[in-house]
Amino acid sequence: MKFKDYYEVLGVARSATIDEIKKAYRKLAHQYHPDVSKDPAGEAKFKEVGEAYATLKDAEKRAAYDELGRHPAGEEFKPPPNWAGNQGGQEYSFDETDFADLFAGFTKGRQNSQQQGRNRPIPGQDYELATNITLEDAYAGITVDLNFIVPEHDQQGQIKRVPHNIKARIPMGVTNGQKMLLRGKGGKGFHGGPDGNLYLNISFSPHKLFRVVDHDLFIDLPLTPWEAALGATVEVPTLAGAVHLKVPARTSGGQKLRISKRGMPKNNLADKTEHGDLFAVTQIVSPTTLSEKERELLQALAISSTFNPRTHFN
């Protein structure tokens, strides 16, 4: 494991008082807490800050940490054999232990010795995972493989990093940003405590054609100026196959034409499938090149037309 300098993480001296430690933690928590900060690196930084604070605010843990001595941050490190004596007399190998787990293990050992075998149930930890799926997968439903490694207590109470692989069925009708709960799939409980839960944050990968709002879909629909002026029937792709859409005459750019029930499914109560709508947002696109004939026709139109889209300027 790599040594972590918790005093350096919090930016305090080794002689800092508990008030100074608390003050430093609060300042950093405001800066990096994932529920407060928009800094993408904030979560990892806060985890480090929280870990340092959890150890240094507790007098016994701090004493155990100080006992490890000074080492450069990031240096390969193994606690001395006699340090394990603090952990309720258990023999620890530390081979699969992360530095962050060291003091959780210390607490476990201390709790065990304090309880004199009463083995108080300790609930497993909750975890959060994010998964990214395509719009097509969200439309049809998909089974995702969730792979993650979590610290767990073994039978001796020692913390090990255990890989998990869970298959989770994401049903059709899920929305972008939807959160879901997998009960009992978090960290293992200890001494009969309940297992923790796993929270899954589902997001959609950007789609090349569609944008999604709740259960509605939006697609840009490019039209030629004459299709927009005269009206037309055009083919529009949907997630369930292309449909024909009648574009009314005198359509402007930016209008939203609704294609009913061609959005995302709403089947989250499993009794019947309803769908959101698909909105085609019109865009009027001029040709990048004009043939001689086209130019002549457009010039004739320009001469004979009295239409002025800028009357409101006057």
Binding site: H164, K167, A168, M180, N268
Partner: protein, 108 residues
């Protein structure tokens, strides 16, 4: 490595969780949750019914999203009880505004 398979529980407006489940999942006590209900920061789907026991209250499962954030903030910032209701109201307002912004951006 053992492969586990499981079904997901939706956290949204349509699905409900009981008071017991909310206590278990949020980390708050029944007393704390009743305080949040009393000041209107949290609402139960059946709180308008008369003669109900607190243990019979049912909540939309989506409330767990803001409640869990509140629970983390309470623990990480050592927040006081009186600040929690206000914070829950703001968290829910932020969640709804973020959804609204996301919708407006996608519908452009």
């Amino acid at each position: 490595m053992q492969m586990e398979s499981t079904e997901l529980i939706w956290l949204d407006e349509q699905h409900e969780i009981s008071m017991t489940e909310l206590i278990e999942l949020s980390g708050f006590t029944q007393e704390e949750l009743l305080h949040l209900l009393e000041i209107g920061a949290l609402s139960a789907n059946n709180s308008t019914e008369t003669d109900f026991l607190p243990s019979e209250l049912r909540f939309s499962s989506h409330c767990l999203i803001s409640i869990r954030t509140l629970s983390r903030l309470k623990s990480d910032f050592e927040l006081e009880q009186n600040a929690l209701g206000l914070m829950l109201v703001f968290l829910e307002r932020i969640r709804l505004l973020e959804l609204q912004v996301q919708g407006l951006e996608s519908a452009k």
